[in-house]
Amino acid sequence: MVIETSDSTTGRSSVGHTAGDDQSGDPVARVPVTPDTDDGGRSERPEVASPSLAAVVTARADSTAPTDDDVKIDIEGLNVYYGATLALSDVHLQVPSGQVTALIGPSGCGKSTLLRSINRMNDLIEGARVTGGVRLGGVDVYDRRTDVVLLRKRIGMVFQKSNPFPKSIFENVAFGPRIAGVRGREQLSQIVERSLTRAALWDEVKDRLHHSALQLSGGQQQRLCIARALANDPEVLLMDEPASALDPASTARIEDLIFELRGQYTIVIVTHNMQQAARVSDRTAFFYQGLLVESGPTVEMFTCPSQQRTEDYITGRFG
């Protein structure tokens, strides 16, 4: 890892270590983490220039705007099995409404599993079994009577690898509303424009809405996927390492976008990038080997974690 080549104080070198160790733990995250950690060129958030996690967190602590303490997602005693393997064990987590919650932890710790069990994408995995409760705004997600289609309409999801449909940009965004019954061309156009605007993509694509989405760059494709999720007007946005396959500039745009979207949406983001968690999230939950080790406000988690393992992970002693 070459993160602080120029000037290295002790605090900062330990940060560099964190990212490095995190990376070695997960080959998937290897590519994106490197550029992501040295994005000194970003002027709009000067605190990023200094990559000390504690500094990052405290510098932007004041911008933790929505302190609306309504619980949006209430996870009570959640266990997830893949066949005979216990992937998540007895997780209790409350995700407050309108805030950004980051799930961190080494690879295979179950954070993506948790994300998928919120909108029941685990249903698609053969052999996956869930016990315990997840409630979304009072609705029991795993109740027999819960309509999974209605549930997923309330919960948008963005995947690690951008996955636009091999159709036009317009059709990509319009798909969700269309299958939900929106028919009018005018109405669909409005939704598409609004969603693309919210995802900060409108200006770049407004002249080529009917071109193939696959012609967009990687970062644009990922923002298109976000726009597509927003078109359904969800309450919750689940993001599974949304920037891990992107270059630093695109990563920065996605992070800015997450920053802008909070308040309007409850966002749960899985990330391997500690810097990213520190930059964008209001709350952080640390997972290790299928257990939720600790969760709390991001500021506390990164400045004075109560668990030794959290501190070890954040400071890069393992990962």
Partner: protein, 298 residues
């Protein structure tokens, strides 16, 4: 060995090695060319024999005992009828089965059993399907199919091509990335919407290629149809699904087994027609693959 002897034998060895190398290359080239030569030879023989008999009246006349009056109208139209019906049946059933197996069926013993059966059925000789068709469609369901009819023949040919259509369609479906399905489900799509809007369109070129190639195989089938009861002396064009019929391969077979040389030449002419039609369908398959294959990329 001394250094001197090595030096002495070196040029001879080198020459030998070069010769082995060279002759191996020639052998491989000959192997390649032999198939091409045989194909060209066959084509030339057929064209030489049959081209003289090709004429508009050859396409528009019924078969006859007089070679100069004989034509392939009933066989040609019968073949088109048969392939049209087979295409409809095999696409509906084959694609349906493939979608069920790939998108719906859970991976339990039932799916594996069905899968194993389909793979085995693909290798069953087509004449066996002819016997099945005779028992099932011609005799058993004669009230529906009308006995030795186009419908019976098409259903029998559907049995012949179905395993191949299913396997080709399954492969096309499997080639559609999981991420597309995930994206669709995450946008609150039902399984039907996911399959209809995303999976099937993406798999369509591959499916169509498989369907067309297996249909062109069915186009040349004679064995099961002989058993099902297509016969060569048909002097009318089928006007409905329950009419009797004949097809090109059977017409060819019947003519070539006659003693007169003229009929063998007629058979060659009919083979030319059959080959041109096969070439067209295969060309269509290639066209579809390129035309739609390019649009869908991940």
């Amino acid at each position: 060995m001394t250094a001197a002897s090595t030096q002495n034998s070196a040029p001879r060895q080198r020459r030998w090695r070069r010769r082995v190398d060279q002759s191996f290359e020639w052998f491989c080239m000959a192997a390649t060319l032999s198939s091409v030569v045989i194909l060209i030879g066959m084509l030339w023989a057929i064209i030489h024999e049959g081209a003289g008999w090709l004429s508009w009246s050859f396409l528009t006349n019924y078969t006859s005992v007089h070679p100069e009056k004989a034509g392939i109208l009933s066989a040609l139209v019968g073949s088109l009828w048969l392939i049209g019906l087979t295409a409809v049946f095999s696409v509906v059933v084959g694609v349906g089965a493939a979608v069920y197996l790939e998108e719906y069926a859970r991976d339990i013993w039932f799916k594996r059993l069905v899968q194993l059966n389909i793979s085995n059925l693909a290798g069953v000789p087509s004449i066996v399907y002819g016997i099945l068709g005779l028992v099932l469609f011609v005799r058993g369901l004669s009230s529906v199919t009308g006995g030795r009819s186009v419908l019976s023949g098409a259903l029998t040919l559907t049995l012949v091509v179905l395993p191949i259509v299913i396997i080709a369609s399954q492969e096309a479906l499997r080639a559609v990335p999981k991420t597309i399905r995930q994206a669709s489900y995450a946008l609150a799509a039902t399984r039907w919407q996911t399959v209809w809007h995303h999976v099937l369109p993406a798999a369509m070129p591959g499916m169509m290629t498989g369907v067309i190639l297996s249909l062109s195989r069915a186009f040349g089938e004679a064995a099961p149809l002989i058993i099902v009861g297509a016969w060569a002396q048909v002097r009318f064009v089928p006007s409905g699904m329950r009419d009797e019929f004949t097809v090109l391969p059977i017409q060819i077979f019947e003519w070539s087994s006659r003693p007169q040389a003229e009929f063998r030449e007629l058979a060659a002419a009919a083979i030319l027609v059959l080959l041109v039609m096969l070439l067209c369908t295969n060309g269509l398959a290639v066209f579809l693959r390129y035309r739609y294959g390019r649009k869908v990329k991940w």
